[in-house]
Symmetry: C2
Subunit: 249 residues, 2 copies
């Protein structure tokens, strides 16, 4: 397993080979073995394989080609709907339509998603997370018919890889791990931690392609712009509210 974890690459090119149902079931079972708040399993997984449905989803994911190309699209949702219905049917008054339970349910859903990804990779498949799921959650809710109490928090593509990308760089461990308490970063620390990343040939190419002086500017000016972040922040907060996770306010 350690090998599977260490060899993870995001896969964006897939063969059209479908995933057999028994394999898919094993992968989904592996998902449900993840730790879950009080064993409440506050999540749902929507498996979308139908080509038309995936074409509907594509614009929400900025039309990345893999959304229609990979055989399986999965959406992991924070879900208090099922638990809420169960409580009501058992003479119990649920008190979970609030932000803490959005967070608890989101945590549950994300641990499941990572188990699912690793189980798939262990079986020779590839996966890729789609960050767009939180950007356009409102569209995804409509297309996947998610009811009150259900909000998407992660989406992945899954299938058999049709590419062999190299391992992506990571910051050195000292850049992300703190012992005992958090030691805030000095400007020397920042220089040291980002040195390797900034020295990569890949980075040099990015600066050239984007006509930028620093890699950080590629992020702030091109990839993840402030105005977009603010727009999608408001949207996602609105979705959490309209799906019933802020009812106490």
């Amino acid at each position: 397993m350690l090998n599977t974890i260490m060899q993870h690459r995001s896969i964006r090119q897939y063969k059209d080979t479908p995933i057999p149902q028994d394999e898919l079931n094993e992968i989904l079972e592996a998902g449900t073995r993840a730790s879950t708040t009080g064993n409440m399993q506050l999540y749902s997984i929507v498996v979308t394989q139908d080509q038309e449905k995936r074409q509907e989803l594509a614009p929400a994911h900025f039309n990345q080609p893999m959304v229609t190309q990979a055989p399986v699209h999965m959406t992991f949702c924070a879900d208090i709907n099922r638990f809420h219905k169960w409580c009501e049917q058992r003479n119990a008054e649920p008190g979970y339509d609030n932000f803490l339970w959005f967070i608890n349910a989101a945590i549950d859903a994300l641990l499941v998603s990572q188990n699912v990804c690793l189980a798939a990779e262990e079986k020779g498949m590839g996966i890729c997370y789609l960050g767009t799921v939180t950007y356009n959650a409102d569209q995804i809710i409509r297309i996947l018919e998610l009811p009150q109490g259900v909000v998407p928090v992660a989406a992945i593509m899954m299938g058999y890889p049709d590419e062999q990308p190299g391992l992506t760089d990571r910051l050195p461990l000292e850049g992300v791990v703190h012992y005992e308490t958090y030691k805030d970063y000095s400007s020397d620390d920042i220089d040291r931690i980002y040195h390797e990343k900034e020295s990569l040939e890949e980075t040099r190419q990015l600066l050239e392609e984007n006509d930028k002086a620093t890699l950080a500017q590629v992020y702030t000016d091109n990839r993840y712009k402030k105005e977009d972040n603010l727009h999608f922040s408001k949207q996602y907060l609105k979705v959490i509210q309209s799906q019933g996770f802020m009812n106490y306010v």
Copy 2:
């Protein structure tokens, strides 16, 4: 690996055997191989081993004995502080002090945490998530000296198991998986999905111990009460705000 995933149990009794630093490094490296938004690694891991520090943390985790008994306590934090500092030092204007980036960073941190847990389990260790981390985030921020831009989203205990608990029950797959779109649950569905859980000997004992008619009431009346949920919801939202993830409002 699939076996490690399928055999996961939360461990609450630990031997006092310490985890060797080289093992710990391998586990942490495995954490950093997780998918991360735009390869920004918007997280930090605080590893707390010092006994005094863990005694300080214990009340925030409702004094669960494992917090001081297990050799390692880890806190996984959503972190835009490091990225923000890097941007500023590279003439780039960061726009990440908003809710979307709390969510992105929380997702990053949670995928790392699950990799770390599975890597530890693969090495014969046990882990347990502490749900309390989101309840008392304000205390944890103070004790671990987390700066602006850093919010804890998960905490785990880790060490060599000193118990062998059985596998916890889970809902059948059909209870949590939907195909193509979400199919909302009828009352028959709810009865069928929860039937096995409600028939367990463990459930019968819980009803007796808690003097309740249904398992759902054990949750709503004893374990996770509405008034507590509302209190901790407000606290956590306040923490997200005071740590600088709502600056656009």
